[in-house]
């Protein structure tokens, strides 16, 4: 069973619909035990870092997530919260990835948030998509710099991490649940992990 972590995030429903389209069985839950015993865990996220971290702490989900041993996928804010720190209201996050999440600073009138379809350059292989089908949908104002855990790079203002992996933790900055058939392949890539 796949567990989708239930918390005050905006895209849980979209993630659920995407899993339904893939005919994947899942449960949306905030019960620590149910999350711990799931085969895989999806940690979605749309929202603001500090209030979301507080919610996770209040519900004791921060420790639960950190200690998971099965494959975990962080999406968007979910990926940022897996880092150690976010500039968004100076928030201490979960610390799986030893990275600081930074605010985009426009240099020539680029718009923030980075919103729309942008391309991926894969740098290590957990995402099984063809090199010529590379566009995915982004909505975010903060980014994770390119680092040793980076699995895909996207350019907007500067090159940033659009996907990462460390041990059993997988993460994407874009929204696979809104990224057409490519997004479905990205979700499937994660679901194929064991």
């Amino acid at each position: 069973m796949i567990a989708v972590i239930k918390y005050n995030a905006g895209n849980i429903r979209s993630v659920a619909f995407a899993l339904e389209r893939l005919s994947i069985e899942f449960t949306v839950t905030d019960h620590p035990e149910e999350i711990q015993k799931a085969d895989k865990v999806i940690f979605p996220g749309v929202g603001e870092a500090s209030s979301t971290m507080k919610y996770l702490q209040d519900n004791k989900l921060d420790r639960v997530i950190k200690e998971l041993k099965q494959p975990v996928l962080g999406i968007c804010l979910g990926m940022q919260l897996l880092c150690s720190f976010s500039e968004e209201n100076n928030t201490t996050c979960l610390g799986i990835f030893d990275q600081h999440v930074k605010l985009f600073k426009p240099v020539k009138k680029e718009k923030v948030p980075h919103m729309g379809w942008n391309s991926l350059t894969l740098t290590n292989g957990w995402i099984d998509i063809d090199v010529n089908e590379q566009y995915v949908y982004f909505v975010h104002s903060y980014y994770v710099p390119v680092n040793t855990n980076t699995s895909a790079i996207t350019e907007y203002i500067l090159p940033f991490s659009s996907a990462m992996k460390k041990d059993n933790f997988y993460a994407v900055q874009f929204h696979p649940e809104k990224s057409s058939t490519i997004g479905e392949k990205v979700l499937q890539s994660f679901l194929n992990k064991s």
């Binding site: 619909f17 339904e20 389209r21 718009k111 919103m115 379809w117 942008n118 391309s119 909505v139």
Partner: protein
Amino acid sequence: MLTKRIIPCLDIKDGRTVKGINFVDIRDAGDPVELGAAYAAQGADELVFLDISATNENRKTFASLVKEIATHVNIPFTVGGGITSISDVAPLLEAGADKVSINSASVKDPDLIDDLAKAFGSQFVVLAIDARKVGNQWIVHTHGGTQPTDKKLFSWAKEGQSRGAGEILFTSMDHDGTRQGFAVDPLAKLHELLSIPVIASGGAGNMQHFLEAFIMGKADAALAASLFHFGELKISDLKKYLQNNGVPVRV
């Protein structure tokens, strides 16, 4: 590279698509879910669904339609039409909409923009502005472009941004329905003034018009309705044309 977005707009009345005829590859062009999925498969980057029958009774129908759309469509979509309050919006987001567009109600009550942005985040809030040129001024109109207001396009767009709108959807009433091209000059000026994305709307008649909206109007996205619905222009052909002319698009 961030690509320019092509957005088909579907008008919905009593749960059915208006104007959606002449589509060869789908069974029921009046079905917004099937039409939306067909556009997504053709390469549309986002969709907009406008409830043009927006009465209280129809609103419930619309929310259940939004849920159907969210279940079947795998790209982002915006819903709008007659939204006047947070309580109108919550069921739509609950049903799976990615963004809502607000128009007339925000002119009457600009705090609605702040309230929605605070409650759901700026990325959920698309401020739709209908304007037409009166003398030298672009005057904001409401109620489908029929009622002039005391607001001017540029100052209202700027105010919308500072109140928390995440995008501006600008329709030139002078161009809408003419098929003579988008209002390129005010689009370029909006781009200069704003730090949020601008969607061009009104006037699309051929592929070159989209190129002009992106190159000269500096628009981030372009929206059209009948041109796509009548099957006159295929999104895949439009995107190839734009790509051949140096506009970054998702193909």
